[in-house]
Symmetry: C2
Subunit: 147 residues, 2 copies
DNA sequence: TTTCGATGGTTACAAATGAAACCAGTTTGG
DNA sequence: CCAAACTGGTTTCATTTGTAACCATCGAAA
């Protein structure tokens, strides 16, 4: 364990990134192959499916996306007629976004697939390992938030 | 807990990605601000600093990068004269990469910063939480490998 | 009210990325 | 020996991304 050497394999930021990248890449096949969605588009669909109605800003907060990603994802889903925008009564800068029937149908089709994916991933771990990853992730999330 | 709803906040692929993204973004400030490096460039520097000499293919495996990323990162570090290529004796397709004195000096400068970053992140967790994240990440890595 | 700083959201531009084609050079099988 | 398949690595092209500038609109303060 040389002090002046960094072992990438043990370096947490690297391991986290590689892990997330691998998982996300595999999962993305589900929405990419089936519907040609990008990740921001999937998150938009997912966020609106879950919450019903949100503004672009709220969507960005809920799904950790930069406003430009949100803007472009929303534009594309609108083009597909999977969502609609309704202008806010009081503030004309704001639009309320909601899924259309078609968008909602797609969302409903994806949810079980997403859950199955997560389930199969976790199924490969032991009970203690499952507890560990969930606990550890939550702890890091907390640490970063209150930073 | 509606069965036909996916809660993004609890969905492991999303949480992992967001976590890795946040951590990686913060860490990247260290090498971006100091030396204007991209992530692939940083990983190349780090990989060669750790191992001494590698081919581009080995580097890609060690640091989980697509070959095009490796190619471009190597080209840039070579341009800065932080690494050199030595043609292989037996196989003329292969080049052995190694850091120059300057490259190595930069690497040595970065190592303590990287370790400090990781240390400060982990320091915000309790002992059990630290164990949990390390254990959980290792478990998921294993699960994905043997898939 | 007018002005000025924030805020919601879009757009323009440059840089980073991924897929696939590509160019050696190398190995294998006939 | 030679063609075909393969491998290490680079390049091209289209897509995605991030930053910053931008265009409304809004709210607060003068």
């Amino acid at each position: 364990m040389e002090p002046d050497i960094l072992e990438l394999e043990r370096f947490l930021p690297y391991r986290l990134y590689r892990l997330a990248d691998t998982v996300s890449r595999e999962f993305s096949r589900i929405y990419k192959e089936r519907h040609g969605l990008t990740r921001p588009e999937w998150r938009t669909l997912s966020g609106l499916g879950e919450r019903g109605t949100m503004t672009a800003t709220e969507l960005g907060e809920q799904s950790a996306m930069h406003k430009t990603k949100v803007s472009r994802a929303v534009a594309e889903l609108e083009r597909r007629r999977w969502l609609t925008r309704t202008p806010d009564e009081n503030d004309r800068r704001v639009e309320h976004l909601a899924l259309t029937k078609t968008g909602l149908a797609t969302y409903r089709e994806m949810v079980p697939l997403a859950k199955a994916f997560e389930g199969e991933l976790l199924a490969r771990l032991s009970d203690e390992e499952r507890v560990a990853i969930v606990r550890g992730v939550a702890a890091l999330e907390g640490a970063l938030e209150r930073k």
